[in-house]
């Protein structure tokens, strides 16, 4: 469908952007709250004896975790492909075949193999159910002990990754074409929106840290900056196509940090390696200093990964906890305090989304800059 006419007029464009912006703010707590009601109602149905006991910690952790289907609203889930590598090759099916079961109670048979899903992990099903009706063997902590196939599923996070890649490509191919078409002329449209941010990355992040060799690393820094920023913002949108917690996933941030590590290690010059293996100290200090420096190579990217992961996760838990207070106290009047406060935290999170993208890029540039610095 061609929606470009919506953006034909500047006024229209402004209205659309402004409405989306407002919608984001007003709908965030509402949607979270709605989700909570259905979840709380479900919990109440399942366990009437502890109706009042609403486990906030579990609820919040469940919501920031990855999942095999995409919860839209109420009982409606978007099924995502489940792709498993088993002993007899690849098996795939729609995750909606589990019908929302996450307690290993529904067995799915595919190619003569039986699978169950428990706590968003897929296991080979046991032959018979245990006394709680689950087709897995559980240990004392109620963790499944069954074997697992290799899971290559397109989960909610993977799906968000694809969406963000498509949007980022659309935006930046457009901007890049703009520069080709209007070479030497003033920017136009999307280009003039992105240019200040790109210049910000160049002048405030790359140049001060990398010196005159900054141009080589600009593609990486820009990619990382916009990828993190965009996904942070997308994580704040509670409905489609947001709602997934991509930058709050340690695997994603670890991959980004590994990219920085590889750049640092491959670009490190002889001064950098000399500083690590033969620093200018008495030789007997090497016993202490060299191991510390070697560990230092790895702690930097690890700290980078955990910083981004923890910041985004903490923000999501905060919003969910504030809204969850209504269900902990089981009173509507708590919402008078908790909803405005969640709104306030939501606004802060918009700032954090930018700052964390900035910090990650800044520290990446700093670490690379330390590795390529010439000796004075």
């Amino acid at each position: 469908m061609d929606c470009s006419h919506v953006f034909d007029f500047k006024v229209n464009r402004l209205t659309v952007v402004f409405t989306l912006f407002l919608a984001l703010f007003f709908v965030t707590p509402l949607l979270y709250a709605q989700e909570d009601t259905s979840k709380a109602a479900l919990a109440a149905h399942a366990k009437p004896e502890d109706e009042k006991k609403f486990n906030l910690g579990k609820f919040a952790l469940h919501h920031i975790a990855d999942s095999h289907s995409w919860h839209v609203i109420g009982d409606y889930h978007i099924g995502l492909p489940v792709i498993l590598y088993t002993q007899s090759g690849f098996v795939s099916f729609n995750s909606n075949e589990f019908h929302g079961d996450d307690e290993a109670k529904l067995v799915i048979e595919k190619d003569g193999q039986r699978f169950v899903k428990m706590h968003e992990k897929i296991y080979y099903a046991s032959a018979a159910a245990n006394e709680e009706g689950e087709y897995v063997e559980v240990d004392a902590n109620h963790h499944a002990k069954n074997a697992r196939p290799l899971d290559f599923s397109v989960t909610k996070n993977a799906c968000t990754l694809f969406i963000s890649v498509i949007v980022l490509l659309a935006v930046f191919l457009n901007v890049a074409n703009g520069y080709k078409k209007r070479k030497g002329k003033s920017p136009k449209g999307l280009q003039s929106w992105m240019e200040p941010i790109i210049l910000f990355v160049r002048d405030d992040i790359a140049r001060p840290n990398l010196g005159h060799k900054y141009e080589r690393f600009m593609p990486y820094l820009l990619t990382v900056f916009f990828f993190i920023w965009f996904n942070n913002m997308l994580g704040l949108v509670p409905f489609l196509p947001g709602g997934a917690n991509l930058t709050g996933n340690i695997a994603v941030t670890a991959v980004l940090a590994t990219a920085t590590l590889i750049l640092v290690v491959t670009n490190g010059n002889k001064y950098y390696w000399k500083h690590i293996f033969t620093p200018d100290v008495p030789w007997w200090l090497y016993i202490v200093l060299v191991p510390v420096e070697i560990i230092g190579i790895f702690t930097k990217p690890i700290a980078l990964a955990i910083r981004l992961f923890a910041n985004i996760t903490a923000g999501h838990i905060l919003v969910l906890s504030l809204i969850g207070l209504i269900f902990v106290f089981n009173s509507l009047f708590v919402s008078v305090v908790s909803v405005p406060f969640a709104l306030f935290i939501g606004a802060i999170e918009l700032l954090v989304a930018f700052i964390q993208a900035f910090i990650f890029t800044m520290l990446s540039a700093l670490f690379i800059g330390m590795a390529i610095e010439e000796h004075h």
């Binding site: 910690g57 700290a303 955990i306 910083r307 923890a310 800044m362």
Partner: protein, 69 residues
């Protein structure tokens, strides 16, 4: 009777430490900007980086608390 893990206390202690740290960074940055307003943007950048380092420590504690829970 109190039950559960004491990891939350550790997270709280880390938050105190980070609070003091970020407070000091903020106050020094403000002083610096008040003395030399033209250097505000440079001070702000340095302040944010330092704050991120301090904040990360508190968040590490949160992660440890979550894992230990």
């Amino acid at each position: 009777m109190i039950t559960g893990s004491i990891a939350a206390i550790g997270a709280g202690l880390a938050a105190i430490g980070a609070g003091v740290g970020i407070g000091k960074i903020g106050s020094s940055a403000m002083e610096g900007i008040a003395r030399q307003p033209e250097a505000a943007s440079k001070i702000q950048t340095a302040m944010l980086i330092a704050a991120a380092f301090v904040e990360a420590v508190a968040l590490f504690a949160v992660v440890v608390a979550l894992i230990a829970n």
